[in-house]
């Protein structure tokens, strides 16, 4: 049985500001590596976070349209350059005609290889990060370099108090299991371990990130793979990262 959950789930809603998880598809060839895509809507304008590859596109478009007119999607945020993040760029540029693409300055020049010769809608994010305005809200682009990509960013929503962490916090589920919200952190960390030991380059990258986020009020951690961590699990996750050793080159 393939895992498809095509209904979105609202993570935050105060009537003016929404943060939505956009559903799930499991490609047959990548058992367990499920990708999460998210939508932020503020005052009728939208932003898509790591909108992903070709085979998830129809679901993304349909679910996004339930909350915001595709023409009002003003921004696409790419945490880094991997195919599960940027794969459907050509489609996104057509179906969200007003959207500006935000991606690390390191990767902008590689995107034309996806078949985009007109780069007028691509914007470089400098190494130090920045801000994206959607409606009346300002989302903060937080540097998270080498976690795992050399030009890598997270996105913090100060209204929903949700931190999108890209591949950090990625979990790989066993083939007969999936959940959206972490309930048992001790069990969940086993699903995260392999990824963090192999894909992250070194301990120092995590330490820099811990310093970067220490003043943020984070209620929810929303990763691109695996499950969402809330409340006490946010603190547990940060503690777990602090304790990780034998990472990347030291593995």
């Amino acid at each position: 049985m393939s895992l498809r959950v095509h209904k979105p789930y609202i993570l935050y809603d105060n009537n003016k500001h929404l943060f939505v998880w956009l559903g799930l598809d499991e490609a047959e060839a990548e058992k367990g590596i499920l990708t999460n895509q998210y939508l932020v809507v503020d005052q009728g304008e939208g932003l898509l976070i790591d909108p992903g590859g070709y085979y998830v596109f129809e679901r993304i478009l349909e679910n996004t349209s339930k909350f915001v007119d595709p023409v009002k999607v003003k921004a696409l945020f790419f945490s880094h350059q991997d195919p599960d993040v940027v794969g459907s760029l050509n489609l996104l540029l057509d179906m969200f005609p007003e959207a500006i693409v935000y991606v690390s300055a390191l990767w902008v020049r590689f995107l034309p290889h996806l078949g985009v010769l007109d780069t007028s809608r691509l914007r470089e994010i400098p190494d130090e990060g920045g801000e994206i305005t959607i409606g009346k809200s300002k989302l903060r682009i937080i540097p998270a370099h080498f976690l795992h990509s050399p030009g890598n960013f997270h996105l913090y929503d100060p209204i929903a108090k949700i931190l999108f962490t890209g591949d950090l916090g990625a979990a790989v589920f066993p083939s007969d299991e999936w959940y959206l919200f972490v309930e048992d952190f001790e069990k969940h960390k086993k699903y995260m371990e392999a990824f963090h030991h192999r894909y992250l380059p070194c301990r120092k990258a995590i330490d820099k990130w811990l310093e970067m986020i220490k003043d943020l009020d984070i209620q929810v951690i929303a990763p691109q793979h695996g499950a969402i961590m809330e409340k006490e699990n946010v603190a547990k996750f940060i503690e777990w990262l602090r304790s990780l050793d034998k990472i990347g080159l030291d593995h």
């Binding site: 049985m1 895992l3 498809r4 959950v5 095509h6 209904k7 789930y9 070709y54 596109f57 129809e58 478009l61 023409v71 459907s88 050509n90 489609l91 540029l93 057509d94 179906m95 005609p97 007003e98 078949g115 985009v116 010769l117 007109d118 007028s120 809608r121 007969d176 299991e177 999936w178 959940y179 959206l180 919200f181």
Partner: protein, 252 residues
């Protein structure tokens, strides 16, 4: 125990929709409030701010007798029954709930009943439309996101611009675009799409000839109608894609 009735009018034949919903594999992807799966169980979760949260894991059973479908959700703290019955051009869903916090959970269950019928209707309806339309009808293919997706994944975006186009001037603009830009001659096919204030168009050129036209004005769709292009104008956001090997897409 709590019971409520929901009546949903449908585009497709109610018995076809009920057939569709009798297959649990069809129900799972369209089930709202799903937050987990494990083997044969599905987790549903309802939450409102910080005041209310209800979670349970259910085993689903489908029982169909004559025209009536019973979807039985057996959880560890609660049981839900959805009973679907066709009534002329509608489906009546009776929702029975046995478990805690019925007065809040009930509201979500009515929403689920509605969504299941709505999504199944959509799936049955589009399968029927697919069967009727031939794949060689390029204009109606342009209306399908799945087809355009395939097209664009094998294409190169060459131009992106915003342009004010006078009423009736769209084809002139496109002609000048094609003759001006030498790069367009490199591609055997071109896909040009545009969004205006109240209109949307998708055009397909093969070897310089306009072969597919899909236009939306307001909420009305037009297929293969060159005349209607005269109605498209104003400020348009235009994208032009070169199609490297159109034969790959046209076969599919």
């Amino acid at each position: 125990m709590r019971a409520t009735n929901v009546l949903v009018f449908t585009k497709s034949a109610p018995d076809r929709i009920i057939d569709y919903l009798s297959n649990i594999d069809n129900v799972l992807p369209i089930l709202p409030y799903t937050t987990g799966r494990s083997r044969d169980r599905v987790r549903l979760e309802f939450r409102r701010f910080k005041v209310f949260r209800f979670v349970d894991n259910y085993e689903i059973e489908s029982i169909k007798r004559d025209q009536t479908l019973l979807l039985l959700f057996k959880g560890s703290r609660s049981n839900i029954k959805f009973i679907f019955r066709p009534i002329e051009s509608a489906i009546k869903v009776t929702v029975e709930y046995d478990g805690p916090r019925g007065w809040v959970v009930g509201r979500y269950l009515s929403e689920i009943a509605n969504a299941l019928v709505y999504e199944a209707d959509k799936a049955v309806y589009s399968a029927k439309v697919r069967a009727v339309k031939t794949t060689t009808d390029l204009s109606s293919n342009l209306a399908k996101i799945s087809w355009v997706s395939k097209l664009l994944m094998k294409s190169i975006m060459i131009k992106n611009e915003n342009r004010v186009i006078s009423k009736g001037g769209l084809l002139d603009y496109i002609e000048s675009l094609i003759s001006e830009e030498k790069v367009f001659n490199k591609y055997p096919g071109l896909y040009i799409s545009g969004d205006g204030i109240n209109s949307k168009m998708r055009l397909l050129f093969l070897n310089g000839e306009l072969k597919g036209i899909y236009v939306v004005i307001g909420d009305k769709e037009y297929f293969g109608n060159e005349e209607v292009l005269r109605e498209v104008g104003g400020l348009m956001r235009i994208r032009v894609y070169g199609i490297i090997r159109p034969e790959l897409i046209l076969q599919s």
